[in-house]
Symmetry: C2
Subunit: 241 residues, 2 copies
Amino acid sequence: MDFAKNQQNRWYQNKEKMFVAIDCIIFGFDNGVLKLLVFKREIEPLKGSWSLIGSFVRFDENSGEAANRILKDITGLEQIFTEELKTYSNINRDPGARCISIAQYALIPIDKHNKDLVEKHGAFWFPLNELPNLALDHDTMVADALERLRNKAKFFPLGFELLPKSFTLPQIQLLYEEIFQKKLDARNFRKKILSLELLTNTKKKDKTSSKKGAFLYQFDPEKYKKFKSIGFDFPILKNNI
Amino acid sequence: MDFAKNQQNRWYQNKEKMFVAIDCIIFGFDNGVLKLLVFKREIEPLKGSWSLIGSFVRFDENSGEAANRILKDITGLEQIFTEELKTYSNINRDPGARCISIAQYALIPIDKHNKDLVEKHGAFWFPLNELPNLALDHDTMVADALERLRNKAKFFPLGFELLPKSFTLPQIQLLYEEIFQKKLDARNFRKKILSLELLTNTKKKDKTSSKKGAFLYQFDPEKYKKFKSIGFDFPILKNNI
DNA sequence: TATAATAAACGTATTTTTTACATTTATTAT
DNA sequence: ATAATAAATGTAAAAAATACGTTTATTATA
């Protein structure tokens, strides 16, 4: 089925029908590099081009459930961090149909995801600065998601969602440097992160990147809950970048 | 047309059709009180109950345009501050149809709006703490919008959107006290607000609330633009309320 | 025309937070 | 035993936030 044919499709022709889709902007942190999961479209429209992973919202699910469904399908993971970004509803954003998309961004612990599933779906992890052009308005979605990620990360400890269960302080610093695209001072960063009182030192060491080894920390979900309920105002980074 | 009949309506019965609506959470600041514009439904479903102002998104407009259309219809105003809040898409949120709603909040300068239009539409301004229960999931929308307003107002000079062209410092302080539901120290507040360098003193005085009179300030749109482009990190209120 | 009343305007000292910056430490490989 | 490597640490200076009381401009009235 090619694109031209597809345009004659009953669904696409029905101008009274408005479609509701979701698109997922999926972030992962892999070996010090922030990456995005995109896939090569194997169906029309725009077969062969790169695009975000999406789906129509089904009649028996809400938009969040739709996102979780997609994320589970493609990564094998459940209960991962997702947040609605915004809707995209320009009249001609989708050449085939009048379709609004509810974009949602997700942060996944890249070590835990199912790589076979990803491959099976024709999906690839791209470092953010090597991202190909994406179909439709997906480039805009990515840019918006990145902006949101940066703004939110300043005030909310999102970063942990992207890390493995145990991680070192140098690792998490690297993550924030990657998010903000900025070198951070190790002493100040450590003070800041530890002052949140969300981390517990496992006393074990990761020696993969130094002879001395760096202590492995774990995120404390109990303290995190408390943190969330109190609200937040702990800039990781101050003064407008 | 009553609700029961309405349920037999072709549109509502068509389970394959997903509707896309917007709902507007419209804030105004009237005489030191933060208010919300709601209206009494004159049509089914839920005739007679209070609800937010909404509309289906038309095929020739995007969601932002839909919001502006509604806002113009009901207040007579154009180019007012609106921001998408989030979508509401629970399966049974609307008893009549499978309908997702893109909620948008708006801040209007209450002095400028067309009161006749508001009345004509059966709409009323309610102080936030006297708000009646609203239909569907509109109470949740309001709660979410208020939370967003509070969070955003901490870091971004939203408040000006709610004020008349000229306003005094005591007035704007009152507005922030109303938003945060908290007394603020006048000296510190003034320092903070003036340090943003967004206001110009008109040298005129408003003497309606004191013998001495308070200087009238105006918001400088040029400086505001610059402010927005630089980004923002000026908490009006710190330390988690 | 002096006085009282009222809300607006203002300044400073203290505390807290952020920033800048260099040395020591634990461990492994040689 | 020594060299090499990245991790860990502390402190002083600057900036921002907070707490707090007095003076000022104006109007109404005595």
